[in-house]
Symmetry: C2
Amino acid sequence: MVIQKGTLYGIGVGPGDPELLTLKANRLINEADVVAYPAPETGDGIALEIVRPLLLNNPQLLPLRIPISVSPLPAQYAYDQAAKLLELELEAGKIVSVICEGDPFFYGSFTFLFERLSGRFKTEIVPGVSSPMACAATLHTPLVSRNEILTILPAPLEEAELKQRLINTDAAAIIKVGRHLPKIRRILRNLRLEKYSHYVEHATMNNQKIIPLDKIDSQTVPYFSMVLVRKIKDRDNSGER
Amino acid sequence: MVIQKGTLYGIGVGPGDPELLTLKANRLINEADVVAYPAPETGDGIALEIVRPLLLNNPQLLPLRIPISVSPLPAQYAYDQAAKLLELELEAGKIVSVICEGDPFFYGSFTFLFERLSGRFKTEIVPGVSSPMACAATLHTPLVSRNEILTILPAPLEEAELKQRLINTDAAAIIKVGRHLPKIRRILRNLRLEKYSHYVEHATMNNQKIIPLDKIDSQTVPYFSMVLVRKIKDRDNSGER
C-alpha cells in the first residue's frame, strides 16, 4: 500500500491580534492534523500565542525550536532539524500547518523551511496581514500612497546605508528596531525626519505601545517594534495609472 | 436630544479571495449599518465583489464613485463628494464600513477619505492582506528575507528611476504594472534580472494568471498585476537581530 504524502501549509497568522487571522488561516489551522510553530529554546513563542484562542480541534502541537539570535551555521542546523520533524509528519500523510507571525514570505523564517521541503511535498502558502500595514493602521498614518516609493529597511543594516536609503525614499518602514533604536533615532534627527516618523511596538497585541520617538527608553525596545516614516509631498490626489 | 455620531471603519478586504478577509473584517462588515465601497462610474468594483459572498445582514450598500483614471482636480472633487456621502451617514449615527481592496493604507484610496473625515469622526483602520504578500504566496517565491531590503515600486514611475531603484535593492515588488509592462520588461532585460522576476495578475482571484515574463501579451495586462523581483544572494540563513 502506498501512503499518500501529506500537505504542508505555511500560514500567516498576522501581527498579533487573533482576529487578524484570515478566514482561510482560521479554517486551515482547524483542519490540520499537526500545527507546527516556531518557538525559542523554551516556551511557546508568539505564533502559537496568537492562534491558541482559535484552535478548536485539539491538533497535535509541534514546536520547531529555532534559537532567537544565531550565527549562520547553528541556524542552518536548527532549520535542518525543524525540516526533519516536519518531514516525518508529511511522510506519514499528515496535513501540517506551520504557523508564521505576520506573513510567511515577508521576512518570515518559514522561507527556510519552504526551501527545504517544497520540492518534495505539496505546499501551499496562505498570506497574512504584515506588520507594516498593522503598524500604519494602529498609528493612524497612511503607509504609502499614489506613486510614492516605499522601502522596507531592516534596522540591523549599517548606519550609512540606512541614512542613504531614507534620503532616497518617499516612505519607509524600519523593521526589527530592537537594540538599534539609538542608531535609528540619530539618523532621523540628522535628516530632520523626526516629525514624519512614528514608533509603535507590539502593534495589535495586548501590550501594544505607541511612544513619541524622543520618549522611548532605548533599553527596553523589543524586536517587534517599528518606525514608519513618510515624507509628505504635494497632495495632488492623483491616481495616475 | 444629541445624536451620537457614528463610527468610520476603513477595512482591508485583502487581494481578492473572500477567504483572505480577516476574522475582524468579516465581523465588522456584518455589524455595519452601511457598507461603502469604491466603485468606477458604473458597476460595483472589486472590493464589493470580494465581500459580497460574506455579507449576511443585508446592510445598506453605498457606492463611492471614483473615476478610475483621473487628473488631480476631478479626483479631489470625487473624494470630496464621497466624503460628503459618508459624512451624512456618520452624522446620523451610523456605523459605516468602507471596504478597501488589499490594505487601506497601502496605496489605498481610503487614505484620501481618511484625510477628510478622521478629524471629525471616530475612525478605526483594519489592516488587510496586501498584494505583494498575496503574489509571493501565489508564485511560491519568498518576497524578502533576513536583512534584505524590499522596495515597493509603482510601475508608472519613469524608466530611468525604476532602473536605478532596481539596481539598488535586494528585492522589489513592482505594482500597478498594467500598460507599463513593455517598459518593465525592457528594464529587467537590460539589468539581466529576468530570471529573478515573476509575473502574476489578479492573484488569489478566480481569474488569476501566472505567465512567464516573455509570454505576456502587453495589450492585455490589467491594473491588478505585479512583478516580483528578488536577487538571490548568498544563503547564510542568518537571522541577525
